[in-house]
């Protein structure tokens, strides 16, 4: 009996030790359940800490509203104020600015990644402008474009276009030369190689580039709305600050995060649907 007990004790100990080792292996393996468990810890602990800090009275509500306050604020924003309208105008600005960038950046990036002289003409300039902060263009944009919708869209365009061009060009350059040369030996002309090989081959990377720059577009949107707007989620956050409605600031930030997350997931879904060969093994 006692022998048995100590034996199982050793077994439990060695099981825990093995589990511990497996979890902390470099590039190790985690089952889906284990992943969800750790992810839940990572999400819930900060949330619980926020809840506790806000409700314990250690911090003033003016500085740190509780999660419940924020939820209530979102509800009232939706019921009594124009949350949908604010979100809609922001989504509209992001989408238009982003699409304008994409429509111009994708063809230009493909040409830069395909033909050396075009690279030499455009890349140094683009690289230079890329390092100019888009936010610093706001006064200039207001001077040139005015303060209506165009200015917000222009800021988003400036913030995303130049990055996008360079990333698209890089995606295109990563198309294996063997794929291009194989097409050449099968009799493809330059136009066919660009449209039937280079573009097709780079498509998955291009969609990822669009997904990443979409995130940046949201950042520039909020900046533009904070400086030069009287509607939108960014403007709502700024207004909330003037009235010391900290819970609304929280609400606005969380809403922007949620919309961004949804858009990101939509891009990922489109990726899975459009490029099945990447997901079949």
């Amino acid at each position: 009996m006692s022998v048995n007990a100590s034996y199982s004790g050793i077994r439990t100990q060695s099981f825990l030790r093995q589990l511990w080792r497996r979890l902390w292996t470099i590039r190790g393996y985690l089952s889906q359940k284990e992943f969800l468990l750790f992810a839940a810890v990572g999400m819930l602990v900060p949330f619980a800490a926020w809840w506790f800090l806000a409700n314990s009275g250690i911090m003033d509500k003016v500085f740190l509203p509780s999660p419940m306050d924020v939820l209530l604020r979102i509800y009232h924003w939706f019921e009594d104020d124009d949350l949908v309208g604010d979100a809609w105008i922001s989504i509209y600005r992001v989408t238009v600015g982003f699409l304008l960038s994409a429509v111009l950046a994708v063809p230009l990036g493909i040409m830069i990644g395909t033909y050396r002289p075009i690279q030499a003409i455009f890349e140094p300039l683009t690289d230079f402008i890329r390092y100019m902060p888009a936010v610093a263009f706001i006064p200039l944009v207001m001077l040139w474009v005015g303060i209506d919708e165009g200015s917000k869209i222009a800021i988003i365009w400036i913030g995303t276009f130049f990055q996008m061009v360079l990333m698209v060009a890089e995606d295109v350059r990563r198309v294996p030369m063997a794929q291009i040369e194989a097409a050449q030996t099968m009799g493809a002309g330059d136009e066919e190689i660009v449209s039937l090989v280079i573009f097709q081959s780079a498509k998955p990377a291009l969609l990822d580039t669009l997904r990443i720059t979409m995130g940046w577009a949201w950042t520039y949107l909020v900046v533009a709305e904070m400086v030069a707007a009287n509607s939108g989620l960014g403007y709502a956050i700024l207004k909330a600050q003037r009235f010391l409605q900290t819970d609304k600031i929280f609400a606005g930030i969380i809403l922007i995060g949620l919309i961004g997350l949804i858009m990101d997931q939509l891009f990922r879904l489109a990726h899975r649907k459009s490029f099945p060969w990447l997901y079949k093994k």
Binding site: T185, M186, G187, G189, L196, S201, P276
Partner: protein, 282 residues
């Protein structure tokens, strides 16, 4: 034997801003119709460059290459090419990869339904010949390396090219798969009556496949020796153990060592051994 490919005083210099590298110097060679010719040599001997010049993917700096007595000045559908890897289109299924050249032609010229049917028939025939019929709807990345190269070969063969250029096509495969591919490509060679120009760094592969083996030497890249392979056209794996095969293999290997300019430095080896022993005693 009438000449399919005629190489006259071919030269190729790669110029960069810093220096010029002579990849090919005064290469002269005739390759006959329906010949299987293989190229071996130390790295930097220009064997791949020569192949790419025949394919029209590189242009010569001097001399000329004639195919069917017409000077090569770019790629053409009469010369199909198989690369070592990464040449398949991962977004197309196996059968669509194989039919890619047909799609290009339809894209340019349009095609009658009977033409499309003939192409489909040939694609099906190649699929079953290559043992790919059961994976025709699969994507390339679902296949093993050996299967992927079969797709690449089938794709190259679809438009019935007169010449098949192969640039180390089995270089990335394991030894067993490579043997299977050797017999497959010999079978295809007898069936399709193409001319095959095959570049490899594997001497055994070069002898087993080739009717002639061209040994190239580096700095500057040039033809060193051309060996006739003393084996019947119908080959089998057993022949690799025959005395003639082994003798030729020895001869070529030692010639590659002589021409590579990379001699093992005995002094250096001895010094390294002494140093290792010293460090152990500390």
């Amino acid at each position: 034997m009438d000449n399919k490919i005629q190489i006259n005083a071919a030269g190729k210099v790669f110029s960069t801003d810093r220096q010029d590298v002579v990849a090919l110097q005064d290469v002269n060679l005739s390759i006959g119709a329906n010949e299987f010719i293989t190229f071996v040599g130390a790295s930097g001997c220009g064997k791949s460059t020569l192949l790419r010049c025949i394919g029209g993917l590189e242009t010569l700096s001097g001399g000329e290459i004639r195919v069917n007595d017409r000077v090569v000045d770019g790629p053409g559908v009469d010369r199909a090419m198989v690369f070592q890897n990464y040449s398949l289109y991962p977004w197309l299924s196996v059968v669509d990869n194989i039919k890619f050249s047909r799609r290009l032609k339809v894209n340019r010229e349009g095609a009658t339904s009977s033409e499309v049917e003939v192409a489909s028939g040939r694609a099906d025939a190649l699929l079953s010949l290559m043992g790919l019929a059961h994976v025709s709807k699969a994507y390339p990345n679902q296949l093993s390396g050996g299967m992927q190269q079969r797709v690449a070969i089938a794709r190259a063969l679809l438009p019935k090219p007169e010449i098949l250029l192969m640039d180390e096509p089995f270089g990335a495969l394991d030894a067993q798969t490579r043997e299977v591919m050797h017999d497959l490509i010999l079978h295809l060679f007898n069936l399709e009556k193409t001319t095959i120009v095959f570049v490899t760094h594997d001497v055994e592969e070069a002898i087993y496949l080739g009717q002639r083996v061209v040994l190239m030497a580096p700095r500057p890249g040039r033809i060193d020796t051309i060996y006739e392979v003393p084996l019947p056209d119908k080959r089998d794996q057993e022949m690799k153990l025959s005395p003639e095969f082994i003798a030729l293999k020895k001869q070529i290997l030692s010639r590659i060592r002589e021409t590579s300019g990379m001699h093992t430095n005995q002094d250096l080896l001895e010094r390294m051994t002494r140093q290792a022993e010293d460090s152990v005693s500390i």
